[in-house]
């Protein structure tokens, strides 16, 4: 359903952002107050600290249809809760390695330190990330070709490959 729509309209990435309450969310508010226009593709989920970010949230966002995930926290040393952002960095680092092995492009997950006063950085990061994900295209988590067989009754499965024909390469 939504796929059909998507194929008609140009691809607009959906990106979920997890912003910490004290720095990055405030910076996003500041960007708003200052009427800085940026790409409408990023939707913010507020958490109190980037340290609250459970890697499960990132995967859930991808599963639910996000094409990218952005994490925003206070600059190192500036965490409102002292060290939460370092925990975010550690988890992010390992999650990034995991996602790479899972075949998900690096640009789809991004961590940025944005201080409460950096409204301009919010704008820049929002625009940059939207462009980067747009370039990659949609994240396709749909079933593979041979998984579709599952949906059909066994009798209707059309099988044409024969042993002789599989001499590729």
């Amino acid at each position: 359903m939504s796929d059909n729509e998507a194929s008609k309209e140009p691809f607009e990435p959906k990106i979920v952002a997890f912003f910490c309450n004290w720095c990055t969310y405030t910076a996003a508010d500041l960007a708003g107050t200052a009427r800085m226009v940026y790409a409408p593709n990023i939707r913010v989920v507020r958490i109190m600290c980037s340290g609250r970010l459970d890697p499960q949230f990132v995967l859930a966002a991808f599963r639910d249809g996000a094409d990218g995930v952005l994490i925003g926290g206070c600059h190192p040393g500036d965490c409102h809760y002292q060290e939460g952002n370092y925990y975010a960095l550690r988890r992010f680092t390992l999650l990034k390695k995991l996602l790479k092995s899972m075949g998900i492009e690096e640009a789809r997950l991004r961590l940025e330190w944005i201080a409460a006063s950096e409204g301009d950085k919010v704008k820049k990061v929002m625009n940059d990330m939207t462009e980067a994900v747009r370039e990659l295209g949609p994240l396709r988590l749909e079933p593979r070709a041979y998984d579709l067989i599952q949906a059909q009754p066994a009798a209707e499965i059309e099988v044409t490959t024969s042993a002789q024909e599989v001499h590729h390469e």
Partner: protein, 331 residues
């Protein structure tokens, strides 16, 4: 009054779960006494037609082990679902996808080529590949079709209960069977094991420090393991804190770190992500590059954190996005 009828079946699995039933030893006798096993291909000569001949819901319970990855398995579990009142996903593979689930790092084509053409021990000059149908002078022969993606049992049929473990611990099996026989069952969808992580029953628990401050991850063969001390504290990647208890900490008791076969506890949605979060939280560094270097010691994050649960993970499988990009270019 006739005894309740029971079925056993295996899908993509190693057979260890079947062994676990045998491991009940003499305790199997009262069970056999109490039930009527009407389908158990690994032990007795039953055919699919025997199951088809049963009426719907005639089986009190079917224990199915193994993950689902072929058309035959799909049809069989569908059939058993129709004939059974209860379905128990038996063991890690049926529960979470298990070791065979790691095949989700690839798709079917890659896997066939690896197995039938590239493996060093394979001698296949004619490059014969498995096919679903082949014509021979005598007529047509068919094989079940393999899927690209390995599924957990509950991704293809409705499952009533789960018995976790690779294989499920004997005590849990007994408790589960007794519960079924007595009808004292927890809510549908439950995992038939305690909902607490392994540390709780770990003999090394008291030696686990409050701060791990991991600077380096070690592998079991690299160090002389202290048999008393918490394995994480020794730098070994033990997944006990993330994994459901119920196995009696059998691996940890013999100096091997927990690899997570019992799966996550009830409130965890994605085992690997949670494990990753807990482990990364214990890394002792604030420097981006150092953190990366320390975590680089985990050479295979997917194999480490999703050893038994890749198909059950939120992402289910590996996605090679490059392939879809190519398609895009062709258009």
């Amino acid at each position: 009054m006739s005894k309740p009828k029971v079925g056993f079946y295996w899908c993509a699995s190693c057979g260890g779960c079947e062994e676990a039933v045998i491991d009940l030893a003499e305790d199997i006798l009262p069970i056999v006494e109490a039930v009527d096993i009407v389908f158990w291909p690994v032990a007795m000569d039953f055919k699919r037609a025997d199951v088809e001949a049963l009426s719907d819901g005639e089986l009190a319970v079917s224990f199915i082990n193994g993950s689902v990855r072929s058309s035959e398995q799909y049809e069989m579990v569908g059939l058993l679902r129709a004939k059974s009142q209860l379905i128990v996903a038996f063991g890690s593979c049926a529960h979470l996808g298990g070791i065979p689930g790691l095949a989700n790092m690839f798709d079917r084509k890659e896997m066939f080529e690896e197995i039938y053409l590239r493996l060093p021990s394979v001698n296949n000059d004619k490059r014969v590949m498995p096919a679903e149908e082949i014509t021979v002078p005598e007529g047509k022969l068919t094989l079940p079709a393999s899927w690209d993606t390995v599924k957990t049992l509950d991704q293809v049929i409705e499952v009533d209960y789960y018995l976790p473990g690779c294989p499920p611990p004997v005590d849990l099996i007994k408790e589960a069977v007794n519960a079924i026989l007595s009808g004292e069952l927890p809510p549908k969808g439950s995992v038939l094991a305690p909902d607490v992580a392994l540390c709780e029953e770990c003999p090394r628990r008291d030696s686990k420090p409050e701060e791990l401050a991991l600077k380096e991850f070690k592998r079991p063969h690299e160090i002389e393991i202290d048999p008393e001390k918490c394995l994480l504290a020794q730098g070994l990647l033990c997944l006990g804190p993330v994994t459901r208890k119920g196995c009696g900490a059998s691996c940890v008791s013999v100096n091997m770190p927990c690899t997570g076969c019992m799966g996550p506890t009830g409130r965890v949605m994605d085992y690997g992500a949670k494990a990753l979060s807990a482990i990364a939280s214990s890394v002792d560094s604030k420097d981006e590059h150092e953190i990366s270097a320390i975590l680089d010691r985990i050479v295979d994050p997917v194999g480490t954190f999703y050893r038994y649960s890749l198909p059950a993970s939120l992402l289910h499988r590996c996605y090679q996005q490059t392939a879809s990009e190519d398609e895009g270019k062709e258009q």
